[in-house]
């Protein structure tokens, strides 16, 4: 993974000093709340319901063992000994003290970490596929370009105060795992007809109050121009995006108002001036950064491992875990594995300090000292030998990290919700927990098969409910917490936004509602169909009819 040189280190060190002084001035009353807000936000600090929340950047989801150990230590020392991995692949601390945050940042800087631009109206943490660099279907490893983009966007002076937040995702696979169409800019890397690295550029996607899937603004962009082309897009947005209404301030609203063709014309007019200016990426710079993402020193291994095969056939619990949590790898004899942060009945995406230390040790022992955070809020060890899987599983299992539910109903994407977040209309974690307990039967879960259930506590959609096969949105109904259910959303190349099935439900009804949706699917599915396929084939109607059947009878 990327290692800081003196330039990178100086920037985070200078940031700590700058932020320490800003915090000092705020606490001394020299900065008003309004003036401090964008400053602290651009350093990931929210003021939440009970305490500040600090969002620590995990650039494109990559962590080293050393960094995770540090995060575990920080969570113990400054918080309640746990952290929450978010859908932007970041780590959130729920209970730090405002006056401690400069010290936390100083500690992070010692392991090449920071909280720069993890919130606020600026370019946020760049996200990508959690299997980048190891996926067999990968065409281009996008991480070097993600790092180049990270550096370019860090304290970009022209884009320091955009109309609203700005999210970029990169992907280098045919099968999109980075929700490219759900971002303000999505960069899809591919090889063109000349076998050169090119980018298909998507723009104007986003979740939130007004979910919109991105549109293609440029089919073919040479990689050298990635920064200048993004500058053209963000400049048009910075100058012309709405600033009078924060709910209409994302780039998607501008793209929709102008139409993609007019927006493209304006971007191209800007880019005509920006193309080939000094921010054009050089071969040397890409090569320098790419060196940090070269293949691990893999051993030459056979495609099969006898001890693994034996364990697989003799241990059904291990076999269930392998089925859900072990993923193919481009190198023979290696696998990527997902450590589930979704044990039934716990807050999805949470990890204790102890678990962080355990995972850091596992990564050190089995996966070259590196790991990744997925946007589905799990942890990934990307380079594990087949022969190590059983031993790894036993240790993960002993620490509550081996629930074999990846991609299943209980692998719920969930925001912190009303338990923590001051924006939330409703709690989301208890809903996730109740659904997990309703379906706390692994055989049944495996029978239901691949399904994505996403929960957001408000329309800001941190839990990506719009693209969940089942999406749950917390709403406020006469000051009571209710939940709106949608089905048919999907991430990926064939992304779609879910349709709301009808009036919202009280919290205690939710497990039953999900049960009814699943019942319709089990009854109607063809042998090969996943839940989403059945929904797409049949539409919302039969699901809606069954879910609301009782109320109609009573009425």
């Amino acid at each position: 993974m990327y290692k800081y040189d003196e330039i990178d280190q100086r920037i985070v060190d200078e940031r700590v000093a700058q932020y320490r002084d800003q915090t000092r001035r705020f606490l001394a009353g020299e900065l008003s709340e309004d003036e401090f807000r964008p400053l602290r936000l651009q350093n990931g600090l929210y003021i939440q319901r009970y305490a500040p929340m600090l969002r620590i950047a995990v650039p494109y989801g990559m962590l080293s063992s050393k960094q995770l150990h540090k995060l575990g230590d920080i969570a113990s020392k400054y918080d309640k000994a746990y952290g929450h991995f978010s859908t932007r692949q970041n780590l959130q601390l729920n209970w730090p003290k405002l006056e401690d945050t400069p010290d936390i940042l100083a500690e992070l800087a010692t392991v090449e970490m920071h909280a720069i631009q993890t919130s606020g109206n600026c370019i946020r943490n760049i996200t990508t596929d959690q299997f980048a660099g190891v996926a067999p279907d990968e065409v281009i490893d996008p991480r070097a370009m993600a790092e180049v983009l990270r550096q370019w966007s860090t304290f970009h002076p022209e884009f320091a105060l955009l109309p609203r937040k700005f999210k970029i995702a990169v992907s280098g696979t045919k099968v999109d795992r980075a929700v490219i169409q759900g971002h303000d800019i999505g960069l899809e890397f591919y090889r063109d007809t000349q076998n050169k690295v090119a980018i298909k550029v998507w723009v104007g996607g986003g979740m939130g109050r007004t979910p919109i899937l991105g549109l293609v603004i440029r089919e073919h962009l040479e990689w050298q121009h990635a920064l200048t082309y993004c500058e053209a897009i963000v400049r048009v947005y910075n100058l012309h995006g709405r600033r009078d209404n924060m709910y209409k301030a994302r780039i998607k609203i501008l793209v929709k108002a102008l139409g993609i063709d007019e927006f493209r014309n304006q971007v191209d007019a800007e880019w005509a001036h920006l193309k080939d200016t000094p921010n054009t990426i050089t071969e040397a710079e890409l090569a320098r950064v790419s060196k940090h993402f070269e293949d691990m020193p893999y051993e030459t291994l056979p495609a099969h491992d006898a001890s693994f095969d034996a364990a697989l056939s003799s241990n059904t619990a291990f076999a269930a875990w392998v089925k859900r949590c072990v993923h193919p790898h481009k190198t023979a004899g290696y696998r990527a594995i997902t450590l589930s942060l979704k044990p039934h009945g716990k807050a999805p995406g949470d990890a204790s300090s102890e678990q962080m230390h355990v995972v850091a040790d596992l990564a050190e022992q089995y996966s070259f000292g590196e790991l990744r955070v997925s946007h589905e809020q799990n942890l990934i060890l990307a380079d594990v030998k087949l022969g190590d899987l059983f031993a790894l599983w036993e240790k993960a299992r002993a620490n509550g990290l081996a629930t074999p539910n990846i991609g299943l109903l209980t692998d719920i994407i969930c925001c912190p919700g009303g338990d923590f977040c001051s924006l939330a209309n409703a709690k989301s974690i208890p809903i996730a927990q109740a659904i997990q307990m309703q379906f706390d039967n692994l055989d049944y879960l495996h029978d239901i098969g691949d399904i994505e259930l996403n929960i957001s506590g408000c329309m800001n959609a941190c839990g990506h409910h719009h693209v969940g096969h089942i999406g749950i949105l917390g709403v406020d109904k006469d000051s009571a917490e209710f939940y709106q259910v949608s089905i048919g959303g999907k991430q990926g190349n064939d992304a779609s936004l879910g349709s709301v099935i009808g009036p919202s439900f009280a919290a205690e009804e939710m497990p039953g509602v999900i049960q009814k949706l699943i019942d319709v699917y089990i009854k109607e599915r063809t042998p090969e169909e996943r839940f989403i396929d059945t929904v797409r084939r049949l539409g919302v109607a039969p699901f809606k009819a069954h879910v609301y059947a009782k109320e109609e009878l009573a009425a």
Binding site: I7, W152, N238
Partner: protein
């Protein structure tokens, strides 16, 4: 005590303000507040300046003045010689377009100073306007940030091509000076230094 910071050959210091900022009189008409600036309709901005306001703007007979763009456009023929001797500058709001500035003045380097007024510090359009004036339109003279100008934006303003900063009256310009140097080696090229770090520094260790 002046609250004006000025960069001279890269060195910042607090200097006396030799320019008088000319303000439009308050409008008698109700100000029309546009809903943002959706370019589709080429809305000219949040506040409409009325001809009465322009006519009623008091311009001192002598001295160095910075006029609102709208006033300059209307009165430039009357001002003729004062423009030529370099004693007239222009200020614009963040919602006003550079195209209207350029078409009003022709050669912008005839202007000794351009100021951009930011009503709320969080309005980041000022950074793009500064950047464009320097990189697109080749403006070489003093570029000043006025209005809600606070120290925590100074580094970005400097990098966006601004060379003077009139710190909001209730804040200390002395304190603000330090923030111009918050970062010593920024990553990306910008108006003040077009080369990104990978072009100006050998990073291959």
């Amino acid at each position: 005590m002046s609250n004006l910071i000025k960069l001279t050959n890269g060195t910042a210091s607090i200097v006396e303000n030799e320019w008088t900022l000319i303000q439009l009189p308050a409008s008698q008409a109700e100000q029309r507040v546009q809903a943002g600036k959706v370019v589709l309709f080429k809305l000219t901005g949040e506040q409409t300046v009325t001809p009465e306001q322009i006519a009623a703007t008091e311009i001192p007979a002598t001295g160095k003045i910075i006029l609102p763009l709208t006033v300059f456009i209307t009165k430039k023929d009357v001002l003729g010689s004062r423009i030529d001797i370099g004693s007239t500058g222009i200020w614009l709001d963040t919602h006003e377009t550079l195209e209207s500035l350029i078409s009003a003045v022709g050669d912008i380097n005839k202007l000794p100073i351009i100021a951009i007024h930011v009503e709320r510090f969080a309005d980041g359009r000022i950074f793009s306007l500064g950047t464009l004036l320097r990189t697109r339109y080749g403006y070489k003279n003093e570029l000043r940030a006025i209005g809600d100008v606070l120290r925590d934006q100074l580094f970005f303003l400097k990098r966006s091509g601004f060379t003077s900063f009139e710190i909001r009256a209730d804040r200390s310009a002395e304190d603000a000076l330090a923030s111009l140097n918050d970062f010593s080696q920024p990553y990306q090229g910008a108006a003040d230094e077009p080369r990104p770090v990978f072009q100006r520094y050998n990073r291959i260790a």
